[in-house]
């Protein structure tokens, strides 16, 4: 179909719009993007490696970068389930041969990791480059992105410890991805023609077929599952989540959890500041997550006269060793006043 006739079709389907769409039709609207502008934003990498930047990185260098920028959330070996679901684990040598992670069908996996799911290595490169590390996305240079990915591939036992990943050999590594054959588009939830007719899905055909029976549709009602008692109480007091008037009332249930998130204004206190600054990803108020809980920090530092100044420096520049080997990343982007507010709050008991 020619571009012209497609436009006519689009216009006919759009219906509500009466304007004719055409190239450069709207005078004074928009301008040509410069090559530098397109280069600055067009960083996506496709499964066929279109968009992949040149570069390389070793497993060793990747370990350094990973421990500095990634381990605080993902664990040193990408195994951590504390902050995000694990990156590494659940794949076998045999999966690397077949390209299908067997644990996905056998039920042996306690949890799906990134490497049990992902079929395309480009996906991981693209995501690290655009969105990692968590609090400073797009700060990694291509060589370090290759290095981190090389380290992850080594952790997943896909490449050896002396491996160097680069734009030259990434297509070869793709052939070793443990779940590379694990995706199907044979379903009805992508529009357009079926794969057999040049599209990508099955042409929109649903996979279940219920009927609109109205009377005596079955002889018994089989209840497969009811709400467990712990789940009844796990979302706070349901009485407080319904109106105090109208046709129904909320049932009184236990627990103080599920405090309304909308009640807290963006500037309502240090806890919100900690949330907004990403601190709560690794620290709990009363519990360790990746880093120590604020209660532990207060207990250790409360009697030290210079505690506030020392802690403020640690927040700003990062640190390692006081609470174990997982490093605290630097937070250079935070305002000094905000850091001081947080430190004072932590030292006063984080209440």
């Amino acid at each position: 179909m020619s571009r012209f006739s497609r436009s006519i079709l689009a216009l006919a389907l759009a219906g509500a719009t009466s304007v004719g769409f055409a190239f450069d039709h709207y005078k004074g609207i928009g301008r040509q993007a410069t090559p530098a502008e397109v280069g600055a934003w067009d960083i996506d990498v496709r499964p066929d490696f279109k968009g992949l930047p040149k570069g390389s990185g070793t497993v060793d260098r990747g370990q350094e970068v990973f421990e500095e920028k990634c381990a605080s959330c993902h664990g040193t070996f990408g195994e951590s389930n504390e902050v995000f679901t694990p990156l590494i684990g659940g794949t076998t040598k045999d999966d690397i041969k077949t390209g299908n992670v067997k644990g996905l069908s056998s039920g042996d996996l306690p949890q799906r990791t990134t490497f049990t799911k992902v079929a395309t290595i480009s996906t991981i490169f693209d995501y690290i480059q655009r969105a990692m590390p968590w609090t400073a996305p797009k700060s990694m240079k291509p060589d370090d992105t290759y290095a981190v990915l090389a380290y992850m591939l080594n952790l997943a036992e896909i490449v050896p410890a002396d491996f160097t990943l680069s734009d030259k050999n990434i297509a070869e590594v793709q052939k070793l991805m443990p779940n590379r054959n694990g995706m199907t588009t044979d379903h009805g939830m992508w529009p357009g023609a079926s794969a057999a007719k040049g599209g990508m899905g099955n042409g929109g055909k649903p996979d279940v077929k219920n009927t609109a029976c109205m009377k005596n549709c079955k002889t018994e009602v089989r209840i497969g599952s009811v709400l467990p008692d712990y789940a009844r109480d796990a979302h706070g007091n349901l009485f407080d989540q319904n109106r105090s008037f109208g046709p129904v009332r909320g049932i009184k249930t236990g627990g103080a959890a599920a405090a309304p998130t909308a009640a807290a204004s963006p500037d309502s206190g240090p806890l919100d500041l900690a949330n907004r600054s990403g601190c709560m990803a690794c620290h709990g108020v009363n519990n360790k997550i990746v880093g120590p809980g604020y209660n532990e920090v207060q207990a250790r530092y409360k009697d030290q006269p210079d505690a506030a100044a020392r802690l403020a420096l640690k927040v700003k520049n990062g640190g390692q060793g006081v609470w174990g080997s997982v490093p605290m990343p630097p937070n250079g982007e935070m305002k000094d006043a905000d850091i001081n507010t947080l430190v004072a709050w932590i030292l006063s008991g984080a209440r």
Binding site: M1, R3, R6, S7, A10, L13, A14, V19, F21, F23, H25, Y26, I29, R31, Q32, E37, D42, D44, R46, K50, K102, L104, S105, T114, A119, S122, I124, R130, A131, K138, G182, T184, H187, M189, W190, P191, G192, P206, V208, N210, A212, K215, N216, G224, S225, V226, A231, R232, A234, H235, L238, D240, Q241, R243, R249, T261, A263, G278, M280, I289
Partner: protein, 457 residues
Amino acid sequence: MNQGEIVSMVDIVKQPGRLRRAPENFLSEAEIKAVGEGRRDFLRRSFLTAAGAAMTAPLLARASEGDANILQNPEWTTTLGQPVAVRPYGLPSKHESQLVRRESPGLTRVGAASVSFAPLQGMFGIITPSGLHFERHHQGWYDIDPARHRLMINGSEPAFVKKAKVYNMDELMRLPSVSRIHFIECGANTGLEWGNVAVPTVQYTHGMLSCSEFTGVPLNLLLDDCGVDYRKARFVLAEGADGSSMTRTIPMEMVESGEVLVAYGQNGEMLRPENGYPLRLVVPGVQGVSWVKWLRRIEVGDKPYATKDEAVHYIDLLPNGQHRQYTSVQECKSVITTPSGGQALLDRGFYNVSGLAWSGRGRIKQVDVSFDGGINWQAARIEGPVQNKALTRFNVGWVWDGKPAILQSRAIDDTAYVQPTYGQLRLVRGTKSIYHNNAIQSWKVDENGEVSNVQVL
């Protein structure tokens, strides 16, 4: 009580607004001040004490005379109210604080990559108030400066567009616009319930669902303006301006239909920051993750992109270990919102059973409701006009006789697709899919009036 007293009571009832004098010292000065400030709960207690002690005519009428809320005009009827613009941007009543977005405890561990659910259990009609619209962010939200926001359109190959272009908000808002009402549902809505009942209320089972009137420019108008080669570029990559620079592949077929919008308006005002201010993609019928917020770039290409949220997440695990990739369309679904899980009926008698139905394939044609767990069904009343890929409200009258009941709703769309049962879905997709659970929801009503979440196979 003698005959004369009864007569005088009737006289009082016939003379609305007439008050009998309060006994001396019935209220203290502090209590009078409290009444002026709107506190009335203790007043009833005081009244009961006073009435019980002396049987004198009180400030508030006795129950036998009628409703005190009628016999005694409240302060809002007898004093001066507040002037205009006390709240330059209006707020809900202070009595509505229960109905807010909430998180599901333990669902995620990082608030910047999490979900808050809309309180469907107390909402009416089909439009979601913008402040109650569900949230799903992948790397936190920002309130972006619209003067610094840009939309770029380019091709994966330079030749796929005659001209790669940049638009600012001034320019986008000069273009011909359309306004359309559409639902948005997260692909993982009801995902907690694939294996078994897990959460207590409709806020948590179905609250990743909202519906708004969106205003913006059809994306195909912009693609035409850039001279896109539609023969070669059959896929669109949409990219956000947030830290995650959220990316999703959109089918060109949908863009060509004219339905996909580059939207800036939501319910008559600009988008809320949590919903993508100042610009988001609207992809009617498709799961929410594709409605890229803080939209900054559109790339047209000849292949899908397998981005993180279509290659690691938002993929549907099947029993055979394969994942369905690029599942996009939200199939026909419905849920009864009143009464629903975690609520209790006040008493036996009449109730208006009300709920929502929607389909990513088009319009809702019919909704049936069952009160006996799916043995018998009756057609519900559909509130029109029914709109394409929008929430549709249904209602049906019901007299609760005090006996246990199981309430269900079943929607049918204009492709004749009938919303499936849990048994039918699990037969094909197992229990670990996470995404695209559109099974018939069941609410069990106990003899004590409590409503709870159950699954009927």
